[in-house]
Symmetry: C2
Subunit: 321 residues, 2 copies
């Protein structure tokens, strides 16, 4: 949660002027997102979202993220869309930061996803992958297999503080992932962070997907493996095969997985568990005492990783396709 | 800025049900307020504000605060109003905290108030004082003259860390304030914290006053003295007599000040400067390294205090009434 940058009323009104949104009625800093400062604006034209990009988001990547949202929305994906000012520009500057005005996406994140939510996210992810096929820009996934070793090295010496034997277990896992990571799976734009807090529902109905600031080009099935980890384990880290089946079947109906993708799922899921384990481990070991943001405990990803190690075929995820 | 309490979607929907606000479309934690957790809700009936009262607000005081808002709104004061559930109750419970749903007040706080803003707040404060006359509940001002000595004692030993001689200066000032503090001025409900961030404008127009969580019964002119400190000094702590004149004249047109109140203004303004100096001094000396909320520097209140010490009549504030 964060609002890192304070925005003054006069500055904001000057920034808004070229967007033609009418009178500013109110704005509030939003306590969400750990990378950027977010504000909710109300003008006499409606509710809008304002994001100021802080240092952790590379300014060079912003045209990719904003261009992707624009592209996806044009293809009918339910997601926030950057507004263009009267010169057609999506990216401005406010309080010394790159800033964008974005349409307001209604919806509520589900805290305890049910199988029907998993099915909805599976469908949405497949539609996202299809819609991204003709997006013209490319961004490398800095948090894929090549990025894990350096992340591990930054935490290795203290990994066992979190769990005895964790350093060795990760070492072996990385050796295997680097050796066996598939390179010939269908590629495209992936969301790379489609966790329940980045997906909205209104009542029972899927209303949209957002937070594209990890989006990149990578294997499409890897995105699905991320969702397996993000949506199909209970709060006690127990795997829920009913949810996994709902997720994968719904995805497969919209974008059928090929045989290589199906066979690779357990390995991709192990890689995805390692990816979130490593970033959480780093944040956990480097947490500041007294900071308002409590880093998430990495342990639940060790449990996920061990679960996927025991899966030998898609049937382990409830699939019989 | 704060959201201390996390609220789950299902819990929130259950809480909202008895208010009959329709479908929940979205809710966001708001990064403002340091005492409570605040959320902005959007339902198909409109935008609403949800406050969860954290430990620093005494639960016993909530009926006073909510009752006051309800009373003021009924009298036509532009301020947020607590909603009543289907049983007519304003105070509920959510996530283990007392919680209230409150109407959403549109508006923007001005960062650099101009004389016209000061006039508007003067009028609004006088109207607030008149509207509060027949409010039936009473709350003592814990931060008036009797509360200052204990606050000072808590910081005294380290006061000179902020400014050499500050401890002695405050000691002398408190001796004088305790001796000369007026007790026979007209009393009533005061806001006690009507700073620019608790007053909204839309464009040039005053749109409302809010944050009644310091409201209490005390001398009405003391509230005006707080506004002198809050609205009539520049960011470099220089006094702006044009703003003070605008504030006081506008107040006086709605609720004429009597001779005792006029004569007491410089002393009340000294007391008000000491009150904010003492709470800021305490927060400053007890700040946590690395905390997201940076306490405000108390030094600007020493400058205000010294200014008021040199004022010998209301003419020093631009008044010739």
């Amino acid at each position: 949660m964060a609002v890192y940058t304070d925005v003054a009323d006069e500055e904001l009104e000057a920034f808004l002027e070229p967007y033609g949104l009418g009178t500013l009625l109110s704005y509030k800093g939003i306590a969400e997102g750990v990378e950027n400062s977010n504000f909710m604006l109300h003008t006499d034209k409606g509710i809008f979202f304002l994001t100021l990009y802080e240092k952790r988001v590379a300014a060079n990547d912003l045209p990719y993220f904003l261009g992707l949202m624009d592209h996806l929305a044009a293809k009918g994906i339910a997601c926030p869309v950057p507004l263009r000012d009267r010169n057609g520009v999506m990216l401005g500057e406010l309080a010394g930061r790159p800033a964008a005005l974005i349409s307001y996406l209604e919806g509520v994140s589900v805290r305890r996803p049910q199988p029907r939510h998993c099915a909805a996210v599976g469908r949405a992810l497949a539609e996202f992958h299809l819609a991204g096929r003709d997006f013209g820009m490319v961004r490398k996934n800095a948090l894929s297999v090549a990025g894990w070793r350096p992340l591990f090295e930054a935490s290795r010496a203290r990994a066992d503080e979190v769990m005895t034997g964790l350093g060795g277990e990760l070492q072996n896992e990385l050796d295997l992932l680097e050796r066996e990571w598939p390179s010939a799976l269908p590629q495209g734009v992936i969301h790379a962070d489609a966790f329940p807090d980045n997906v909205f529902f209104i009542g029972e109905k899927f209303s949209g997907i957002f937070d594209f600031y990890f989006a990149c080009n990578d294997a499409l099935a890897y995105d699905l493996a991320i969702c397996l980890n993000a949506w199909c384990f209970e709060h006690d880290a127990a795997f829920n095969i009913t949810k996994a089946r709902a997720l994968l079947q719904a995805y497969n109906e919209v974008r059928p997985l090929n045989a290589d993708e199906l066979a690779a799922l357990p390995l991709l899921a192990r890689g995805s568990a390692v990816r979130f384990l490593l970033t959480r481990l780093y944040d956990w070991l480097n947490r500041q005492p007294g900071a308002l943001v409590t880093p998430k405990n990495p342990v639940e990803y060790i449990r996920r990783l061990r679960f996927h190690r025991g899966v030998t075929s898609p049937a382990g995820y409830g699939l019989d396709i």
